[in-house]
Symmetry: C2
Subunit: 112 residues, 2 copies
DNA sequence: TCCGAATGATACGGTAGCGAAACAATCGTT
DNA sequence: AACGATTGTTTCGCTACCGTATCATTCGGA
C-alpha cells in the first residue's frame, strides 16, 4: 500500500462516516471504542487513560458520551470496588462492524 | 483486506494520531483537508459544503481553525469576487504526508 | 482501627463545535 | 441604475470537549 493509496482510503472512509448520520465520535472516542473491542479485557478507566496518553476525565467523559449512545457499558469490579470495568455492547459491536465494512469496501475500490 | 484487519488498521492509526501532539482535527475537518489535497482544484466553500453534505458555516469554521493552524489558505477569486478559493500550504501537505506514512506503516505491521 | 494510596467522578473556567437565521458583498440581468 | 440571486461570513443560543484541581469511595497495611 502506497502513501497515496492510504490517504485516499482515509479520505473516502472519513467522507462516508461524515455522510452517515451515525454518531459523530471524536478521534479520541474512536480510539477508546476500538481499543475496548479489539484488545482483550478487562478495561479500566486508568488503563485506557494510560494507553491513550490522556487524563482520566477524558476517559470518564468519553464513556459518558458513548454510554448514552449505547456503544459501551460500565460495571463495578466486585473484587476491587474502586475499579470500573468497561464492557462491550451489541450496538457498539455493530457500529464497529459497519466501520470495518466501510474501510474494506473503500480499500477494494482504491485507484492503483 | 478483512474487516478485522481494517479495524486494527484504524485502531493503530487513530492511536498514533492521538499520541502525536499534532493538531486535533475533527472528522469533518479531516475530510475537508483530505478533499482539498486529493481532489483537483478549485475548491470553494459552497463546493466543499455540498461534497461533505454539511452547511456552509461548518466549512467557514473549519477553514478558520485549519487556517490558523497553517494547514490551509484562503484567497478571493478575482474573476468572481464572491468566491473564496481554498488553497494548499506546505504545512498542510506535510501533515497529510505524515498521516499517509502512519497508515502505510501500520498496514505493514498488521496481523495476518 | 486508622491512615495513606489508589480509582473514578465531579466542578470549574475556558474554548470550540453545531444548526438556524440574518448579514454583507458581488454578480448578472434587466 | 436597480433588483434578485449567489456566495461566504457572522451572530445567536446551545452543547460538548479540554486540563487542572478537587472530591468520594474503596482498598490494604501499620
Amino acid at each position: 500500500m502506497t502513501a497515496s493509496q492510504a490517504l485516499h482510503l482515509w479520505h473516502n472512509t472519513a467522507l462516508k462516516l461524515v455522510h452517515s448520520d451515525g454518531p459523530d465520535l471524536t478521534l479520541r472516542q474512536m480510539s477508546i471504542l476500538l481499543h475496548i473491542y479489539l484488545v482483550p479485557p478487562p478495561h479500566t478507566v486508568r488503563g485506557l487513560a494510560a494507553v491513550l496518553g490522556v487524563t482520566k476525565p477524558v476517559i470518564t467523559r468519553a464513556l459518558d458520551s458513548m454510554g448514552s449512545l449505547g456503544l459501551v457499558r460500565r460495571t463495578r469490579d466486585e473484587r476491587d470496588r474502586r475499579n470500573v470495568i468497561i464492557q462491550r455492547t451489541v450496538d457498539g459491536a455493530l457500529f464497529l462492524e459497519n466501520l470495518g465494512d466501510i474501510v474494506v469496501e473503500e480499500a477494494r475500490g482504491l485507484p492503483l
